[in-house]
Symmetry: C2
DNA sequence: GAACGCAAAATTGGCTCCAATTCAGCAGGT
DNA sequence: ACCTGCTGAATTGGAGCCAATTTTGCGTTC
């Protein structure tokens, strides 16, 4: 019998992978910082084998760079690396949106609208200045993009896109977003959903491209001003 | 698209990785075929450890798919998977060409022209009906694209692109190209090089996009007409 | 005769040990 | 004082072993 949800995939290697990835993305491993297999292994009470698999995986995903006999370290990204990555993502995700507008079934359209609604709800209800709040927002955002991808029926392209999405986050070290930026994102989500529903691929693609580039600008802006002001809420 | 550097990295895991990838891309492992670690290990006279690392790596690159406790198999791709992948590649590589046209230094331009010349030479001189000939052509083609990428100064995007390039090859099972198609490719290379040299990003991008889509069409055409083999075991 | 269930074989996931390589600190020579 | 070379510690890459899970084949039952 096939499980519908892969929730039970708690293999050791998978656990280490998720742990390390989160640690890196949320900035607890700084860029360039070395990752010692034995330390990670003992900190999670496992042997080195699953750790090595996770490290290799992160390496081919690009989050980590490792040299022969010399270990692994968090890949340091330059500002222009990140900007380029965002633009690549914009093109890929624009393409995905075109596909979605061409191929979406009624169920898909409903799922996309649901996800857009959910994102909006989360943005309004959650404290986006806290780490847990930010996590919830990112989750809702992922859900929207996942719904779109599913509608586009292009899983292979999505796999590629995933690494383009994750990598810049290393650089961000889990920065926060302003309420305005989030509401703008929500608006774009709605417009994209609308374009998909009315089967206008070109517009869906253009909106998504613009949405991602807005994200890039916000991201780079935040990078230039190291200070964060969660004064509200 | 392989990495051209790292010549001295002959670690066992790397050897297995290259071996397996070639076996898959050249079709000696059929789509969906199971990959048994112990068999690969003994066939290369090594332990399972490096084999496992290679398998994991190929898995995250998307060439193979593996399920918990149930092993790995060559990822089966549908015709539409391949078409989508090509289109994604077209957008990404179009972007790369734009970057190249914006950022290329004189050395880069020279390298791109050299690679285009070399490709042309190989296409004319080599027997493109043989497996070795095809390998030589693919190598020259890689060289052109690598030169372009280097000029664009966007290594991270290139890393992503690589998986979009390799994956469809699994499906091809190492098909052959007609002389006409190859000469058309060569022409596009030259036009792209020209656009880069004269700093016309938009045209460079458009040409590259078209070039890749031509490749897609040739690829899909070949897929539909089951090919005649060049009489070799 | 087909479906079910059980047991043996095959295979994977993980652990531990070992050799090879790199890194760090210290001593000695200039 | 500074550079060089050496030795010991830390770390990685690989091998072999074992437990857990899946697969396969056969016999039993309805």
């Amino acid at each position: 019998m096939a499980e519908l949800h892969e929730v039970s995939d708690v293999s050791g290697s998978e656990r280490v992978y998720r742990h390390l990835r989160r640690e890196i993305i949320e900035g607890r491993y700084g860029p360039g910082e070395r990752i010692v297999e034995s330390r990670v292994a003992s900190s999670l009470a496992m042997s080195r084998t699953p750790v090595r698999e996770a490290v290799r995986r992160l390496e081919t995903e690009g989050l980590i760079i490792s040299t022969h006999n010399r270990g692994a370290q968090v890949r340091p990204l330059t500002e222009s690396d990140v900007a380029d990555l965002y633009e690549a993502r914009a093109r890929l995700e624009g393409f995905m949106s075109e596909l979605a507008a061409q191929r979406a079934e009624p169920d898909d359209v409903a799922a996309i609208h649901d996800a857009a609604d959910e994102f909006d709800r989360v943005v309004e209800e959650v404290d986006h200045g806290s780490v847990e709040g930010l996590r919830a927002i990112l989750r809702a955002n992922d859900r929207f993009h996942a719904a779109l991808v599913r509608a586009g029926r292009a899983d292979q392209v999505f796999r590629i896109l995933a690494t383009a999405v994750d990598m810049p986050l290393v650089f961000t070290a889990f920065k926060l977003y302003s309420h305005d930026e989030l509401r703008r994102s929500s608006m774009f989500h709605r417009l994209i959903a609308e374009a998909v529903e009315t089967r206008q691929p070109e517009r869906a693609g253009r909106l998504m491209t613009e949405h991602v580039l807005q994200g890039r600008d916000a991201h780079m802006r935040r990078f230039r001003e190291p200070e964060v002001e969660p004064a509200s809420a």
